[in-house]
Symmetry: C3
Subunit: 126 residues, 3 copies
């Protein structure tokens, strides 16, 4: 069993991967926009790009997502967030998902996305 | 490693199962009541019925739940939600659980439940 | 595949462990302070102590945490919660993390922490 921490900071790691024999689970930290002045579509786009980038470091893609939790500052942003999500999420590979309203740490954040993915653990661990 | 998506929609799948060698993890989407005009006990009952139904498609039952997150629109509904939960949850097989207050996507939703289960992966994948 | 429930109550278990062949996943319930009259630093300290204690029953430690979700009643408590977290979290082993604001079940609760850990499943199950 092997735990690897990616983009590791002193407080948390952006992604933690766990080898479970045949498979590897990838736990991502809650992603927020770096440019928090963007509107909901801009922030969602930035976050989904962060997720693509983190997954890619392990040879994974958005097709490997198994479960996603989306926190919205304002539930009224649901449709606008989904307009970006729906273009991004791969047909035939949609994850389980829950979306709820929550206060976010920075008052400018409009959305935060927490994701888990799973890939085959056939190769050596990078 | 095998990921299977159940009740798959273009936006999300109601359940995603991941084979991890000896075991299979089942990630369920946040479940809400279809009849959102029901009160908290009625909505909780409907949601737990959805969970039973989703698990059953994989030969799993509520005894296989390992972790559950419950989002309540009003934390004052905690006791009423629990009255339904307590009758439903199987003695000797209670999952880990967290319950928090959150705004839900539809203002009529009073509760949303997100669940993870685990079963043996001994047979062929349906 | 083996599911074991620890500190099991009729409503939920404080921790559920799942054997997945090479590894064991540990799902913890949302932890809150027993002494809810404590301030944010006191409640965070108590919760992290609960987590240490639950993990220890399986021979695990905070170094084995892979993913943590922190719910704050008041996002303004973020810095004070982190001051306790930063002293506690082990350098070189920080988990993935998400922190959001949420109403908590008891109005005195200021923080609730939900955690998942992973350990090697090499020995017999206690």
């Amino acid at each position: 069993m092997n735990i690897i921490r990616h983009d590791m900071g002193p407080r948390f790691s952006e992604m933690v991967t766990v080898d479970l024999g045949a498979a590897r689970l990838l736990y991502l930290s809650g992603q927020v926009a770096e440019n928090s002045s963007l509107d909901i579509t801009g922030q969602t786009r930035e976050i989904l790009h962060h997720i693509d980038r983190l997954l890619a470091t392990q040879g994974a893609t958005k097709q490997d997502l198994v479960s996603v939790t989306i926190y919205l500052r304002t539930v009224g942003d649901y449709a606008a967030m989904n307009s970006v999500w729906d273009e991004w999420v791969p047909a035939g590979h949609t994850p389980a998902r829950a979306t709820v309203g929550a206060k976010l740490i920075d008052s400018e954040y409009r959305v935060e996305i927490q994701a888990t993915a799973a890939i085959a653990a056939t190769g050596p661990v990078p």
